[in-house]
C-alpha cells in the first residue's frame, strides 16, 4: 500500500503486542514500523517521514509520556495515539495536554484503533500541508523589500494609502506602487486574499514597522 499517506510507528516494549499491532495495521493496509523502546525510535526517527506514533504508555526506561515530551522539546510533534493497559485519568490528561490525538485503553477494537490511526494520519497530513503552505508564503514574503514589508503591514492593519504614506513619510502615489509590487510578488488576486495570507503567515497588526516573522512551526 505504497499509496498510503504515511507509516505508523509502533513503540511497545511487549513483543507480542508489537507484533499484533503491526499485523492488524498490515491487514488494514497500513504500513507500520515497530520499535521496542523510546530510545530505539528516537534514534531511527526521521521527522520528514509522514505518519503517526502508536505509543505504549508504560515502558521501562523512557515511557510514553516522556517520549512525547522529548519530541515536543525537539520541535517535532507527530500525532500520537497512546495505548495503555490501565486507564488512569492523570496520564490521559498529561498526554492530551502534550497534544496526543487519541488515548486508547487495551484491549481495543480493531476499527477503533484503525479509525484513530486514520485520524492521526489526517492530522499529520493537514499539519504537513499547513506547514508546506506556510513555507511557501514565507518564501514569497522573503522576496519583499523592507519597504514593501512595511507597506504590507499597514495594508493588513487596514490603513488607507494616505495614512500609510503619512506613516512612512512618503506620498500616496509611492505607496500605491509598493502595494502593486507586494500583490504581484505574493501572487494574490485581491486585497482580501492578501490579508488572509498575511494572517496565515502569522503577521499581526501590531506595529507597522514589522519584519518577516520568524520561522515557526
Amino acid at each position: 500500500m505504497s499509496d498510503h499517506p504515511g507509516t505508523v510507528f509502533v513503540i511497545d516494549d511487549e513483543a507480542a503486542m508489537r507484533k499484533a499491532l503491526a499485523r492488524l495495521l498490515a491487514a488494514a493496509g497500513i504500513p507500520a514500523a515497530t520499535f521496542a523502546s523510546a530510545p530505539e525510535f528516537l534514534a531511527a526517527y526521521d521527522p520528514a517521514a509522514p505518519g503517526c506514533l502508536l505509543l505504549d504508555l508504560a515502558m521501562p526506561g523512557l515511557n510514553g509520556l516522556e517520549l512525547q515530551q522529548a519530541l515536543l522539546a525537539r520541535g517535532e510533534a507527530p500525532p500520537i495515539v497512546f495505548l495503555t493497559g490501565r486507564a488512569e485519568v492523570s496520564d490521559g490528561i498529561r498526554a492530551m495536554k502534550g497534544g496526543a490525538c487519541e488515548f486508547l485503553t487495551k484491549p481495543f477494537e480493531d476499527d477503533v484503533l484503525i479509525a484513530a490511526v486514520q485520524r492521526a494520519f489526517a492530522r499529520d497530513a493537514a499539519e504537513r500541508a499547513r506547514r508546506a503552505e506556510l513555507a511557501d508564503i514565507r518564501r514569497r514574503l522573503a522576496t519583499l523589500t523592507p519597504r514593501e514589508f512595511q507597506v504590507l503591514g499597514c495594508v493588513v492593519a487596514g490603513k488607507l494609502n494616505k495614512q500609510t504614506a503619512a506613516e512612512l513619510g512618503t506620498v500616496e502615489k509611492t505607496i500605491k506602487v509598493h502595494r502593486a509590487r507586494v500583490i504581484e510578488k505574493l501572487q494574490v488576486q485581491s486585497l482580501a486574499e492578501l490579508v488572509l495570507l498575511a494572517h496565515r503567515a502569522g503577521l499581526t497588526v501590531a506595529g507597522g514597522s514589522g519584519s518577516p516573522p520568524a520561522a515557526k512551526d
Binding site: M17, A20, L24, A58, D110, L113
Partner: protein, 618 residues
C-alpha cells in the same frame, strides 16, 4: 507296814551300837550300805522321842556336821538356809502329825559359806515300842537345782514371752517378757485366763495335736492398759506332764508389723503416684506382657490396671507401638474409638528380681499439644492467606495489566486474522502465524491467572523443593507493571546452581512479594533515576539459601530494625502493618530467619534464609 528297805536301814544305822539279832541280816546291811553310798544317798534316822539323829557318813558330809557329836533336830535345822528353814520345819512337823511321808528340798549353808541343795525324803515309822522314829534319805541335788536355776534364768531373760497354762486355761507361769507384752508385773499374770489376754486361745489350743505338735499364728494380745500388741503365738504341749500343761510362746511382732505396714503404705503411696500420673506408665516382661499398668493406661482402654496384668501389649497396640526400646510418637485408639497421640518412651530396666529384660514404658499424651500446634499452623496459614489477599488487592492494578497485555494482543491478533481472511484471496499463511501467537498469548494469560490463583489459594503449608531463583522471577513478573509505574529498576543477581529449598512456593513468593513491594514503596521519595532495587540469591556459609532485597530508600533507623517485624507497626497510610510480621512467621515456619539491615550507601536490605532441600530432611 514297814518297808523292807527301811528295816534294813534302821538295822544299818544302829549297827554300831547293837549287835545284829541274827547273822542273816549282815549281808543285807552291808549291801544296803554299799548301794546307798554308790547312789550318793545318805541314810538317816531320827529318834523323835530322844531327839537323836543318826546318819551315815555321807549324811554328815551333806549337812556339814562334825563326825562324832550327837545330832539333834535343832542342830540339823541350824545348817539349813534361813529362808528354807521354816518351810522344812513345818513340813516335818506336818508329816509327823499326820504320819505321812514328806519330800523337801532345801539349801544347806556350809561352814565356808557355800550353799548346797539337798533333797530330803522321810517317813514316820510305826513305833515298835521304843518311841517314835522318822527315817529317810538325803541326797545332793545342787547340780539339778543349778540346771533348773539356769533354765529358769534362760526363760526369764528370753526375748520370747512364755506362758504356761493348765487345762483350765489359766496361767500357771509367766516370764517377765510375757508380762511385759501385756503390761503387767510377772506375778500379776498367774491365775488369769489365757483368753482374756489372747482371745481365741482356748479354741486354738483345742485343735492342737498331741506330743510335739505345735501351732503358730499371728494375733493381737489385749494389754492391761486397753491397748493391743501384735504377737506371733506358738502353742506346744509341755513335755512330761500329765496335767496337760500348755506352753504359749509369744514373740512381739509389733515392729515387724509396723515395718510391713510402712512398706505397704509406701507401696500404696507409690501406686497412688503411678496411678495419679497423667502419663501412661507400664512395664512389660520379656515376652511383652504387662507386669505393671497404671490407672491412666487402664482408663484409656476402658479397663482396670489389674485386668491388664499378664496381657500382651500387642493385644492392645500395633506391634510398632508395643515395640522395643526408644522414643516414638504413637497413635492409640482409646476405648471410645478416639485417636490419641502419645510420645512413647521405652527404657530397658532390670526386673523386680534383678534379672530378666523388662521394659519400662512411659507415654505422654501430646494430643492437645499437637492439636494446638496444628491450630497455630492453621492460623498462620490463614493469616498468610489473608495477608496475601490484602497484598494482591494492592497489586490488582499491576495484575490487571499483566492480564490485559495478552488479552489485548489476542484481540488485535484475532481481528487481524479476520481481516486477512476477508481478503481475496485470504492470507492463510498470516492467519496460521496469528493463531500460533494467539495460543502463546493465551497461555501467557493462563499462567498469570494460575499464579494468581495459587497466591489466592488457601492451603496448608507444603513441603516441596522450591527454586528461589524461579520464585524471584515469578514475583518480578507480577510486580513488573507496578515497578514500571513507580520508576523502579529491579536488578536480580541470581546465583546459578542455587540449591532448591524445602518449603511452600506460595508462601516464599509471598515473602518476596512483600519485600519487593516494601522496597518499591520505600523509594517513592527518591529521585527517579536513583530508584534501584537489588535482589540477590546466594548460599551462605552455613549452607542455607539466602535471599536479599535491597532498596535505595530512606532506610530504617537502627533502633527500628527489629520493630518493623512487630505486628501493626507500619509507615503506610493503608495496610494493617501485618506484612513483615506475617513474613517473619512464614520464614520461621520454614526453619529460616528474616531480618533487616541498613544498606550501603543508602536504604534498607532485608535478608531471609531457608534451609536447602535434602532428601533426608523429614
Amino acid at each position: 507296814m514297814v518297808p523292807r528297805w527301811l528295816a534294813a536301814l534302821r538295822s544299818l544305822l544302829v549297827s554300831s551300837k547293837t549287835r545284829p539279832a541274827n547273822g542273816d541280816l549282815m549281808p543285807d546291811q552291808h549291801h544296803l550300805h554299799l548301794a546307798s553310798d554308790s547312789a550318793q544317798l545318805a541314810l538317816w534316822e531320827w529318834d523323835m522321842t530322844a531327839d537323836r539323829i543318826r546318819t551315815t557318813a555321807l549324811g554328815r558330809t551333806l549337812f556339814g556336821l562334825t563326825p562324832g557329836n550327837p545330832v539333834r533336830f535343832a542342830d540339823l535345822l541350824a545348817t539349813v538356809h534361813p529362808e528354807d528353814r521354816a518351810g522344812l520345819e513345818e513340813a516335818v512337823i506336818r508329816a509327823r502329825g499326820h504320819r505321812q511321808r514328806y519330800a523337801r528340798e532345801c539349801r544347806i549353808v556350809l561352814a565356808d559359806g557355800s550353799v548346797r541343795w539337798i533333797a530330803l525324803r522321810g517317813q514316820v515309822q510305826q513305833p515298835a515300842g521304843d518311841g517314835e522314829i522318822m527315817a529317810g534319805v538325803a541326797f545332793d541335788v545342787s547340780a539339778a537345782k543349778l540346771a533348773e536355776e539356769r533354765f529358769r534364768h534362760l526363760v526369764e531373760v528370753s526375748p520370747t514371752g512364755h506362758l504356761i497354762s493348765g487345762a483350765d486355761g489359766r496361767i500357771v507361769f509367766a516370764n517377765a517378757t510375757a508380762a511385759g507384752h501385756f503390761g503387767y508385773p510377772a506375778a500379776a499374770l498367774a491365775g488369769r485366763s489365757m483368753d482374756s489376754l489372747l482371745p481365741g486361745h482356748t479354741r486354738l489350743a483345742a485343735t492342737l495335736g498331741g506330743g510335739t505338735a505345735r501351732t503358730t499364728c499371728d494375733l493381737a494380745g489385749q494389754r492391761g492398759d486397753g491397748g493391743e500388741i501384735a504377737l506371733q503365738m506358738t502353742l506346744t504341749r509341755l513335755p512330761g506332764t500329765d496335767d496337760d500343761l500348755l506352753l504359749t510362746s509369744l514373740v512381739d511382732i509389733s515392729e515387724r508389723k509396723r515395718h510391713e505396714e510402712q512398706l505397704l503404705r509406701g507401696r500404696r503411696f507409690l501406686r497412688d503416684v503411678i496411678d495419679g500420673n497423667p502419663c501412661l506408665i507400664f512395664v512389660l516382661d520379656e515376652d511383652g506382657r504387662f507386669t505393671l499398668a497404671n490407672q491412666r493406661l487402664a482408663d484409656l482402654h476402658g479397663t482396670t490396671p489389674d485386668s491388664l496384668i499378664g496381657k500382651y501389649a500387642t493385644d492392645l497396640w500395633p506391634p510398632a507401638t508395643a515395640g522395643t526400646a526408644g522414643d516414638s510418637e504413637e497413635r492409640i485408639v482409646d476405648a471410645q474409638g478416639r485417636h490419641r497421640l502419645f510420645h512413647m518412651i521405652r527404657r530397658p530396666v532390670a526386673g523386680p528380681d534383678g534379672k530378666g529384660q523388662t521394659m519400662l514404658g512411659i507415654g505422654i499424651d501430646i494430643t492437645a499439644r499437637k492439636e494446638s500446634e496444628l491450630e497455630i499452623e492453621r492460623q498462620r496459614n490463614e493469616l498468610a492467606h489473608l495477608s496475601r489477599v490484602t497484598m494482591l488487592g494492592e497489586l490488582s492494578g499491576s495484575l490487571a495489566h499483566e492480564l490485559n497485555q495478552p488479552l489485548a494482543a489476542i484481540l488485535a491478533n484475532a481481528q487481524a486474522a479476520q481481516r486477512f481472511l476477508a481478503q481475496e484471496p485470504p492470507n492463510l499463511a498470516e492467519v496460521a502465524d496469528i493463531l500460533a501467537d494467539i495460543v502463546a498469548d493465551d497461555r501467557h494469560a493462563g499462567s498469570v491467572i494460575q499464579g494468581l490463583r495459587l497466591l489466592l489459594k488457601k492451603g496448608e503449608m507444603r513441603q516441596e523443593p522450591v527454586d528461589l531463583n524461579e520464585a524471584v522471577r515469578a514475583v518480578l513478573k507480577l510486580v513488573r507493571s507496578d515497578l514500571l509505574n513507580a520508576h523502579v529498576a529491579a536488578v536480580a543477581t541470581l546465583a546459578p546452581d542455587l540449591p532448591a529449598v524445602r518449603g511452600d512456593r506460595v508462601q516464599l513468593q509471598q515473602v518476596l512479594l512483600n519485600l519487593v513491594a516494601n522496597a518499591s514503596e520505600a523509594m517513592a521519595g527518591v529521585a527517579v533515576g536513583q530508584r534501584r532495587l537489588a535482589i540477590v540469591s546466594a548460599v551462605d556459609s552455613s549452607g542455607m539459601v539466602r535471599l536479599s532485597v535491597a532498596d535505595r530508600g530512606c532506610g530504617i533507623a537502627a533502633g527500628d530494625l527489629e520493630r518493623v517485624f512487630e505486628p501493626f507497626v507500619t509507615t503506610k497510610a493503608q495496610g494493617l502493618g501485618l506484612g513483615l510480621a506475617v513474613c517473619r512467621r512464614l520464614v520461621e515456619a520454614h526453619g529460616g530467619r528474616l531480618w533487616a539491615e541498613t544498606a550501603t550507601p543508602a536504604g534498607a536490605c532485608f535478608h531471609f534464609t531457608v534451609p536447602a532441600y535434602t532428601e533426608a530432611t523429614p
